[in-house]
Symmetry: C2
Subunit: 440 residues, 2 copies
C-alpha cells in the first residue's frame, strides 16, 4: 500500500491509509496503547486496541514502523491544538522496519551541550534540531535565489589552497602528495575576486576553515561562508545594498515558511526596518557607546550598539563602516575621503557580527604595494595577481557566516547549536581530548 | 550615467547609453578604431572616430572601460549574425577603469592544458570557459531544485572528519590542534545517512577529497559531489528513479538555457530517451561486451556499453546494477535474491561513470557484521552507528560527480576543463613539482 505522509492525513478522514515513521512517544493505557508517530512531515497519534495490542506492546520509542489503519476524527473532548490534533489513526496492521535500543536519556529533556553533541545521530531527531536545520536550508536557498535574481552566478570555490597567503586567520595544514603541504582555505576571497574578472557577479557557499585556538560560543573550526563578489561598483555602499537585499530575503523566506516554529519556541522573528538598515562609521559607534578609538568593537560593544539600533531604529541589524586600514586585509580599499580608513563594513545582527565586506583594491600596483605594506610576499599569490595584471573593474563583496546568522535568528546561545556537526579544538564528532577539554 | 548591459542594447537604438566592460578585441583602421566590448551579458562592437580617436588609440585588450555613446543600427552590409550583430555603439566618451598588461598569448588560440591552467585568472575569460561554468551553475541548481520539489532538504556536510573510516578511497590528513590528525572527507556518505534518521530526505553538494595518486583525464583531488539520500524506500530501483529525474532536469535546464552554446561549440545535447534509462546487471553488460566476469567494468568497457546504449536505446545514459559485494563499501545492501551481489548501481554517461548509488544496510547488527567482514573496526565509527542503534528506515541514495557530469555533457576531453581551479597531484593553482611532473 502506498505510503501517506502524516502531514497529509487531514484530508483522509474515513479512509484506510499506510503511514511510516518513528515511534516518537508511547503511552500504554492497558487496553489502549497510543503512539505518536513521527515522519518528516510531522506527527500523528495512532491508537491500538483489540487484536493489534499484542503487536503494539512490543514497540518502543524510535522503532521504525509502517502502520496501516483508518483515519478517524478524534472524539470532541480529546481534540488538541496543532497538527493533526483533531484526527488519529486506528491501527489495524503493524510492520516493524527496524528496532531501536533503549534510549540513553529522555530526548525531551534539556541536555547539556556535550551530551547533545556526543549523540547527534539521535539528538538531531528532536523538533528543535529538525526545525533549526530546516530553517538553515531555507536561509541558504534564499541567499542563492536573491543573488541569482540580481545576475550573480554560482561557482565552486576550492577548499585546498597552495599557501596560507592572506594573513590573519590561522589555517590548517594538509599532508599533500610527496611530502608537500597544502592548506585549507580560510575564505574563498581571492578566488571570488578572480571570478569577478570572468563572470562579474558571483557567489559561493563553501566550507571554510579556521584553526584559531578559541573555545567560545561563536567560533567554529569549520563553517559555511555565504560569499558574493560583484564588479563595476561605485563604492562599498552598493555592496551593502546587495547584502541588505539578501538579508531581507532570508528573513522573509524564513518568516513565510517557518513562523510557526518561532511562535512555538517563543522566539521573535528578526526586526527588519522599512527604512534601510542603520549605518554608521566605527568612530561614530564608539562615540555613541562612549568608547575609546580602538581598531574594532569588542563583543560587549557589538551587543550594546545592536541594542541602540533596535531602540532607535527598530532594527535588529546595523552596519558599521570605515574600519582602520591597519585592521583590514591587504586588499581592502582605502577611502580617499577618509585616509587611514577603509571602504569596508561589518553587519551586526542581535549583538553579533555576521557579515563582513567592502570594496576591494582593483588596481595592480596599488594591490601589490598594499600587500607589501602588510608584510606579505606578492610572489606567494602571483596566481591571484594575474587577474589584476590583466584588467579588473572596481569591485567588492561580502561574506556571511551561515551558522552565526542561523544562531542569532533563532536566539540559540551557542553557534554550535546552529551547526549540524560542529568541529572545534575539542571535537570532531567525538571529543578529541577527553581528559583535557579546553573550557568555553 | 546608469550602466546598460551590452545584452540589453538591442532596445536602445538611437539612445545615448553608458556601457562598461573589457576590451575584447581591438581593430585599428586608422581613421576608425573598432572594439569588441565584453561584459557578463555578451559583446557589442564600439566604433571610435573623430575627436575620440586620441583616447581610443591608447586602449588595449583586457583594459576595463566605461564607454558612452549612441546606439546605432549598423549599415545593412555590415550586419553579422549573432548577439548585437545589427547594432554598434558610436563612442563619444571613454573612461579607463583599469589598464591591463600586454597579454602573454593570444586568448583565442588553442592553449595546451598547462598553459590554460597556469593562467586561469586570464584564460577563464574566454567564451568557452565562461560558458562551461555558467552551465555548471545551471546543473547544480537543477539538481537542488529537483530534489526540493521531491521533499528533500539541503544540509551542510562536514569536510573535516575524525578518521579515515570508510575504507577504499585514499584520504588526506590534516594537522589539527595539539598534534592530532584529522582527515578530509572522501564523501558525505556517513553523514547523509545520519541525516536520513532526522530529516528522511536530504541532499548536499559538498567538496570531497581523494588522495589517489592517479594523473588521468578523469580524476581530481578535490571535486564537488552531488549527493542525496532518502528513507523509507523499497529498494535501489526507487533511488535510480530519483537520480534519473534529477539527470533529466539537469539536461532539461541546460537545454533550455544554454542550447546556443552547444550549437556554437558543435556539441550535441545529451540524448535522453522517452523511455526510462536502460538498465542491466553488471553480468549482463559483460555478456553483451563478450567480457569476463570481473568485479567492475574497465574504462574501455564503460565506453563500449555506452555506445551500445546509444545505438540500441537512443540514450546517452545507462544504469549498471548488481556489483559484487566484494567491490562495494561495507554499508551496501546485499540483494536477497542475488546472493553475493548488491542492490547498487552506477550511472554511465557518454562512456564515463558519473554516479554511484544504491540501497544501504539499515539494520544495526547487519551493518556491524558487514563492516567487520571488510576488516573495518566498528569502534572507529561508533558515532555513525548510533543512527542505526536507535532505529533507521530502509534507505538509499547516490552521489554524482559535478565536474565529470559537466565534462561529459560538454564533451570536454579532460575533467579539469570542467573544474574551475583543479587540484591534482601536480598542481594547486601553480605546478607543485615543476621539475618532476607526473605524466597523464
Amino acid at each position: 500500500m502506498q505510503r501517506t505522509l502524516v502531514g497529509e492525513l487531514g484530508g483522509q478522514v474515513g479512509k484506510t491509509v499506510s503511514i511510516s515513521g518513528w515511534v516518537d512517544v508511547r503511552r500504554d493505557h492497558g487496553k489502549l496503547i497510543f503512539f505518536d508517530i513521527r515522519d518528516r512531515s510531522g506527527k500523528v497519534q495512532a491508537v491500538c486496541s483489540g487484536a493489534i495490542l499484542a503487536d503494539a506492546e512490543k514497540l518502543r520509542p524510535e522503532w521504525v514502523v509502517t502502520l496501516e489503519g483508518i483515519v478517524n476524527e478524534r472524539p470532541e473532548k480529546m481534540r488538541v491544538d496543532g497538527q493533526n490534533g483533531n484526527i488519529e489513526l486506528a491501527v489495524a496492521k503493524i510492520a516493524v522496519l527496524a528496532k531501536a535500543a533503549e534510549l540513553p536519556f529522555d530526548l525531551s529533556a534539556d541536555l547539556n551541550l556535550d551530551t547533545y553533541l556526543d549523540n547527534l545521530p539521535l539528538t538531531l531527531r528532536t523538533p528543535l534540531a529538525r526545525g533549526v536545520f530546516n530553517i538553515q536550508a531555507t536561509v541558504v536557498e534564499a541567499f542563492r535565489e536573491t543573488l541569482r535574481e540580481q545576475g550573480f552566478i554560482e561557482f565552486q570555490a576550492p577548499a585546498l589552497v597552495g599557501a596560507d597567503v592572506e594573513g590573519g586567520a590561522a589555517s590548517f595544514a594538509v599532508d599533500y602528495y610527496y611530502g608537500k603541504k597544502a592548506f585549507l582555505a580560510t575564505s574563498p576571497q581571492l578566488y571570488k575576486q578572480i571570478m569577478v574578472g570572468t563572470l562579474e557577479r558571483v557567489f559561493a557557499t563553501p566550507k571554510v576553515f579556521r584553526g584559531e585556538k578559541h573555545a567560545t560560543t561563536r567560533h567554529l573550526s569549520e563553517y559555511s561562508s555565504l560569499d558574493f563578489e560583484m564588479g563595476f561598483i561605485k563604492d562599498h555602499i552598493e555592496v551593502m545594498a546587495v547584502i541588505e537585499s539578501v538579508v531581507r530575503a532570508m528573513v522573509g523566506a524564513v518568516t513565510s515558511k517557518h513562523a510557526d516554529f518561532f511562535t512555538a519556541r517563543g522566539v521573535q522573528l528578526p526586526l527588519v526596518p522599512e527604512q534601510p538598515f542603520p549605518v554608521m562609521k566605527l568612530r561614530e559607534a564608539q562615540k555613541i557607546l562612549g568608547a575609546g578609538e580602538e581598531p574594532d568593537l569588542e563583543p560587549e560593544q557589538e551587543r550594546a550598539i545592536c541594542e541602540w539600533a533596535k531602540k532607535e531604529h527598530g532594527s535588529d541589524f546595523i552596519f558599521i563602516t570605515h574600519y582602520p586600514v591597519a585592521k583590514r586585509p591587504f586588499y581592502t580599499y582605502e577611502d580617499e575621503n577618509n585616509p587611514g580608513y577603509t571602504k569596508s563594513f561589518d553587519l551586526l545582527f542581535r549583538g553579533l557580527e555576521i557579515t563582513t565586506g567592502g570594496q576591494r583594491i582593483h588596481e595592480y600596483d596599488t594591490l601589490v604595494a598594499a600587500a607589501k605594506a602588510k608584510g606579505l610576499d606578492p610572489d606567494k599569490f602571483s596566481f591571484y595577481l594575474q587577474a589584476f595584471k590583466y584588467g579588473m573593474p572596481p569591485h567588492g563583496g561580502s561574506a556571511t557566516g551561515l551558522e552565526r546568522f542561523t544562531a542569532r535568528m533563532l536566539e540559540l546561545p551557542n553557534v554550535k547549536e546552529a551547526t549540524l556537526f560542529p568541529r572545534d579544538l575539542n571535537r570532531i564528532d567525538i571529543l578529541l581530548h577527553e581528559s583535557d577539554t579546553v573550557e568555553e
